[in-house]
């Protein structure tokens, strides 16, 4: 009998097949619609739209892939980059699960735990959106109620308050400098806002890694 490959090797293979397939069917959607309606894309609009949109998001995408893969684990990365909402949902969810299970992200148990958390989160998100679409008529006035809007506007701060406490309190020595750096940058540099926080993640990561290496060499952490 042929010996089965290690789990992680199989994850790479599954991920490759699934992600390329999903990419194919996502691309197929506009093409199928075009065929069904006998409609050609507006080529000038397509080119103009792509030129204005793609370069920036491709650049951000490359940076995100590199910074998030080591945090999400293998299975979690394949899923997260298909289903999206990484920094505001999938990654916090995985981090919380690793905490709860008391396993290290780099261990195989960590890989299993983060994949389970991210998969469940993706499934629940998809189902809730389906429910939202089915009930869109009665839900619209409720969810667009101005009394509720502030709560959903502040999702990210509410998320990182809870998450921050756990990670900062456990790694105080490592946390102080990057937090201070980011506070100063975000408060005093007007260009840093909601749109640019994604670019600041790798900046924070690289800074903290260098600091971590120094503190580690000095035996502080």
């Amino acid at each position: 009998m042929k010996q089965q490959k290690p789990y992680i090797e199989r994850v790479y293979r599954w991920g490759l097949i699934w992600n390329l397939s999903v990419m194919g069917i996502l691309m197929a959607f506009p093409i199928v619609v075009a065929i069904l309606y006998h409609a050609m894309p507006d080529w000038q609009g397509l080119l103009g739209g792509l030129m204005a949109t793609a370069p920036m998001y491709w650049a951000v995408g490359v940076v995100e892939v590199i910074s998030y893969i080591p945090m999400l684990g293998a299975g979690g990365s394949y899923l997260s980059f298909v289903t999206g909402n990484i920094s505001n949902l999938k990654l916090p969810c995985a981090l919380n699960a690793l905490e709860q299970a008391e396993v290290k992200a780099s261990s195989e148990e960590g890989e299993v735990v983060s994949t389970i958390a991210i998969a469940v989160s993706s499934i629940v998100t998809t189902l809730i959106i389906i429910l939202g679409v089915v009930l869109i008529v009665p839900l619209t006035p409720l969810l667009e109620n101005p009394a509720l809007t502030p709560a959903f506007d502040q999702l990210v701060p509410a998320l990182f308050g809870g998450l921050g406490v756990v990670f900062i309190s456990r790694n105080r020595k490592l946390a102080i400098a990057p937090i201070l750096l980011m506070l100063i940058l975000f408060i005093f540099v007007p260009a840093l806002n909601e749109g640019t926080v994604g670019i600041m993640v790798p900046v924070g990561v690289v800074f903290t890694l260098i600091l971590g290496r120094i503190l580690y060499k000095k035996g502080v952490v």
């Binding site: 619609v33 309606y37 409609a39 000038q44 609009g45 080119l47 981090l95 809870g162 490592l174 926080v197």
Partner: protein, 271 residues
Amino acid sequence: MFDTNATILFILVAVIIAVVLGQSVFFLVKAWKRGVELGMDRKKLRKIARTAAIFTVAPAVAIVISVIALSKKLGIPLPWLRLSVVGSLSYETIAAENTALAMGMTGSVSTASQFVTIALVMTISIMVGIWLVPVLCKKMQKGMSSLEKRDKKWADVFQNSLFLGMISAFVGYVFCNVSRLWTADASGLVTQTKTVVENGEKIQQTVQYTATSGLVPVCVMAVSAVIMAVLGILSKKFKKVHWIADYALPVSLIVGMISAIPFTALFGGEV
């Protein structure tokens, strides 16, 4: 006139979403089986899944709100698809506006050609992650595991540095509008201009915020942090009450979000 809510569009989108859902179910089953093989407690795995599910509810409802917002110009199926896969309200809006502008389109989508063009731009412009992960994942994960083998302690510091680097960027972001306190004019307002697309043209719109509006996210984060800290202390004190530790993050998230309502009333926001 093209119907952005045509039944066939709903069917196509439903098929694609079923495949995406299939991928999540596939990875869930495989990881679950592997966890059991590794001797992990099934109860523990179930608990992880339950917490992840509960934690996801509020952010997922926020995504539904984005679908509703986008559906006004694009119909329901396209936003449903786009926000079920990688994308966001701000990204899809920018992609749609850029394309509408390039087409000289005014108002809502009215032809199949416009619909196809917008859908293509949205799909292509954010595709990078889906194919780049299979390209890089194996190499990067191998690097991580060889680091783990070479120096376990440093691998630990490395992993914590990654998480803290990410968290610090978002903590910083929460403070990004605090500067409104000292940039406000004499009437206590901050005026900003933003570019919006209206009737096929880019126009500058001015928006005003109260000087104190930047404090809202800071206070919300503080509330959530305090709740989390209190629950953390309680869970250590009452070790037998498991739900405290399990649901600490979802609870702090929800309480934080609810606290945004009085804080916004107090400090103001967009005028």
